[in-house]
């Protein structure tokens, strides 16, 4: 039944697939996760603030980002950001941002909205008495957040944050719409060049599955290990 297929193409293209494609995918995932969690945490703190000047814009941002398809955001950033950047700095023509940087910014901003909601739940899961105990010791807002609330929130939320990161890892494949060579992009290029669509797309699916599934097993083990004794 496999007579018409040539699975050798996979082996021949392995260096290209992994050295170029997977490196891009993993770098993008790591940067988007780090930036997303950082900005997401700030957004969560803003959303939980009692000042409307902070919580309203943060809420609007998160709701907009979560209501727009990722592909659209990728497109939008890629084609519009050069013009906006030019407008902001007053340059006469669009600023060349580059595909990679554009992807990194897009995913950071998009994922920040999702990480924000996770961190918001994490912060809210810390009893109010903990904050009061911090205040009673004389800690200010940032000290209380930094030493008492956020460390506990991160710990409680690590499994969910990692699960979101697995989703992010899969979503990075959408950068193919702006013709970037991520793992799927690399596979797709070979597939079209050699006309080996079935082989390449099957292989790509298997690789995504193996990585995502083993990561989710890691998350499961972590979950049992991390729980704080109360």
């Amino acid at each position: 039944m496999f007579s018409g297929y040539d699975f050798d193409v996979i082996q021949r293209s392995l260096p290209y697939l992994f050295r170029e494609g997977m490196t891009f995918t993993l770098t993008l995932t790591a940067l988007a996760m780090a930036g997303g969690i950082f900005f997401g945490t700030l957004l969560a703190m803003m959303r939980l603030s009692r000042f409307p000047l902070l919580n309203l814009p943060a809420g609007a941002y998160v709701n907009i980002m979560r209501s727009v398809p990722l592909v659209l955001v990728i497109f939008w950033f890629y084609f519009l950001v050069p013009y906006i950047a030019a407008w902001i700095i007053g340059a006469p023509r669009p600023v060349a941002v580059g595909a990679f940087l554009s992807c990194v910014i897009t995913f950071m901003m998009f994922e920040a909205a999702y990480y924000c909601e996770i961190m918001r739940a994490g912060i809210q899961s810390i009893p109010r008495g903990q904050v009061q105990a911090g205040s009673a010791l004389g800690l200010n807002y940032w000290q209380t957040m930094g030493t008492i609330v956020l460390p506990q929130a991160f710990r409680n939320m690590t499994p969910v944050l990692l699960t979101q990161t697995i989703i992010l890892f899969q979503d990075t494949s959408l950068v193919y719409v702006i013709s970037v060579t991520d793992f799927l992009g690399a596979a797709s290029k070979i597939a079209n060049r050699d006309y080996r669509l079935v082989e390449m797309y099957t292989f790509a699916a298997v690789v995504y599955f193996v990585i995502s599934f083993s990561l989710s097993l890691v998350v499961k083990r972590l979950q049992a290990k991390m729980a704080i004794i109360r």
Partner: protein
């Protein structure tokens, strides 16, 4: 000399009044017990003293520093007032030693080794030195509350506030906490204690404040309060909790 001065303090949650024109003072070295039925506003009042519960009317000053004045550094003032909570509120992700040193290092700016020395000395004083490397979740409620008292003392407070320190404890653990508090009172610490432990009040309190429905109904010396309470409500309250 008045250490804590509470003047005409009122607080509302929406239209519901939780504190109604409360006024009293706690002198330096004085131990004042605040009691009353649940919902009478005693926890709110004690949390108002270090600004954890904001209030709409009146003023509180501690050691001459007004809580409501605009130029008051509230964090700094709080660092000088020790507070012990009903639910201990130790930081579960930090070891006992770290719980004892966090405030000293971050707020008072003490070097780490000095903070550890001070913290462990107080931990030894509450009889828990061998627990120094454990985490709060590994300790019993009574032990956690004693650590919480040591944590508050590690900041070298000018006064201590206790918000029902024994009401979340199993009966057999209440005394170990009360013993620490009695010792503290006998050393001359200024204390304001919300509690139902009338034995503690009889033993070390100088004054007893009785609250009901957000009002300070009775503010009397210990002997007057237990000997000849003047208000009807205090008499009823005492008869209910002292009959066993």
């Amino acid at each position: 000399m008045a250490m804590i001065e509470i003047k005409d303090v009122s607080k509302w949650y929406g239209s519901f009044q939780v504190l109604a024109n409360c006024s009293t003072t706690v002198d330096k070295g004085e131990v004042v017990v605040v009691c009353g039925p649940s919902g009478s506003g005693k926890s709110t009042l004690i949390k108002a003293v270090n600004g954890l519960e904001p209030f709409q009317k009146g003023n509180i000053s501690v050691d001459g520093v007004s809580l409501t004045a605009k130029d008051t550094n509230l964090s700094k003032l709080r660092s000088r007032i020790g507070m012990v909570f009903q639910n201990f509120e130790l930081f579960p992700h930090l070891s006992i030693t770290e719980n004892l040193t966090l405030g000293q290092i971050k707020v008072l700016g003490r070097p780490k080794d000095e903070a550890v020395t001070r913290g462990l000395k107080l931990l030894d004083r509450v009889g828990l030195i061998e627990q120094k490397d454990k985490y709060p979740g590994q300790l019993s409620g009574g032990q956690q509350q004693r650590v919480a008292i040591a944590r508050a003392l590690s900041m070298d407070p000018i006064a201590m506030l206790f918000d029902e320190p024994t009401s979340a404890l199993d009966p057999e653990m209440i005394n170990e906490v009360l013993d620490v508090m009695v010792q503290l009172a006998q050393e001359g610490m200024t204390m304001m204690v919300v509690t139902h432990e009338m034995g503690f009040a009889k033993k070390v309190a100088h004054r007893v404040i009785f609250m009901d429905k957000g009002e300070i109904v009775e503010d009397a010396t210990k002997d007057d309060f237990f000997g000849k309470p003047r208000s009807e409500r205090a008499v009823q309250f005492l008869s209910k909790i002292l009959q066993h």
